[in-house]
Point group: C2
Chain length 187, copies 2
C-alpha cells in the first residue's frame, strides 16, 4: 500500500456540466435514463455519445425523434499547447445542431466554448466546462432544468413575415442571463 506521503499528487479532472431542458420532459420522460446529479468518468480515449440507441450511446435519450447517435463529444489537447478542449460533432443526418449561433450539419464539428447553449429539435442544453489537469479521463455532470434555458419565445415559422422585415436572430437575448434553473429540480 502506498502511504499518504508517497502517493502521487492527486489530479483534478476536467468536468463538463450539462443542464438539460425539453418542453415535454415531464410527459415524455425522455431523460429518465440519464444519471442526473452524479459525476461520471469518461476515459480520455473514448467518445461520449448522446442518442436514442443505448447499445451505442451511454447517454441515452428515450425519444423516437432523437437520432440513433445525436451528437458526440471528444476530449483532446490542442497542438503546441497544454490546453484541454472538448469538441462536439453532430451525428444526426436529420437534425441540425446549434452551438450558440453556429449551425452544425451532419458530421460537422466544433470546439465547445467554455460556456454555451447547445440546441437540436426542442432540446436545450447549457454546457459549461470546468478545467482540470488529468489526461486520463474527464467527468460529466448532468442536471435537469425545470424552466427553458432559452427564455425567449421564437416567432413560429408558419407566421407570415412582411417583406423586408428583419428576421430576429435565433437566440437574441443570449448573454443577458437567459438561464434560470430551479435549484430543487436541477440537482
Amino acid at each position: 500500500m502506498t502511504s499518504f506521503e508517497e502517493a502521487e499528487t492527486e489530479e483534478t479532472a476536467a468536468c463538463l456540466h450539462m443542464t438539460f431542458y425539453h418542453p415535454c420532459q415531464n410527459d415524455k420522460m425522455m431523460f429518465h435514463c440519464l444519471n442526473f446529479c452524479k459525476r461520471e468518468q469518461v476515459r480520455a480515449d473514448e467518445m461520449a455519445k448522446f442518442g436514442r440507441d443505448p447499445n451505442i450511446c451511454h447517454y441515452n435519450l428515450v425519444d423516437t425523434r432523437v437520432s440513433r447517435i445525436q451528437f458526440s463529444l471528444q476530449f483532446y489537447r490542442k497542438l503546441n499547447s497544454s490546453e484541454l478542449c472538448f469538441e462536439i460533432k453532430n451525428m444526426s443526418k436529420k437534425t441540425k445542431l446549434f452551438v450558440d449561433h453556429t449551425e452544425l450539419g451532419y458530421l460537422n464539428k466544433i470546439d465547445l466554448p467554455w460556456k454555451c447553449i447547445v440546441c437540436f429539435g426542442d432540446y436545450q442544453i447549457l454546457m459549461e466546462i470546468q478545467e482540470g489537469e488529468s489526461l486520463d479521463y474527464f467527468e460529466t455532470h448532468l442536471c435537469l432544468s425545470k424552466v427553458p434555458i432559452l427564455q425567449e419565445k421564437c416567432i413560429p415559422l408558419v407566421q407570415p413575415l412582411p417583406e423586408n422585415s428583419i428576421i430576429p436572430s435565433l437566440f437574441p437575448s443570449q448573454g443577458k442571463s437567459p438561464i434560470e434553473i430551479d435549484e430543487n429540480e436541477s440537482c
Copy 2:
C-alpha cells in the same frame, strides 16, 4: 425490388489508402492481423482505431511496443463546406506520432493531408486520400511495402553532435519521391 432505372444514384466512397512498413515485419509479423489488399467499409459515425488491443481496435498491430490504442481516425465534414476530411489523433501516452513534419503528443490531433507519411516508433505508413461522396461510410485499403517508405537513414540519436551543428530534419528528402513499393508484395 428496385429496378435499375429507379435505383438511387450510386455514390462513391472516400477511401484512405494506407501502405505499412516496419523494419522487422518479416520476423515479428506485427501486421499479420491486418486485412491487406481488401477494401473495408467504416461507418461514418465510427472511429477507425489502430493498436494492440483487438477488443477496441479493428486494425490490430500485434506488437508489445504498440499502445492499446495507438491512433484513431475520424471522418468529418468541414464547417461551411462540403469537403470531407480525415482527422488523426495520437492515442498513445508513450509514443509521439509524426504526420509528415508535425509531432503529435498524446491526445493531439490534426487533419490528414491528402498524401502524407505517418510515423511512430519504427512504423511508417504512407497515407493517401481518395475523394468520395458518401456521407454514410468511408473505405480503408491497406497495403504492405517491402521497402522503407522513408528512404533516408536517420543519424542515430546516440551519436554526439558537435555544438552549433545543424540537426537534419526528420524527413529531409520528403517530396523527392521517397516511396518505393514492391508491387508484388504490396498488393
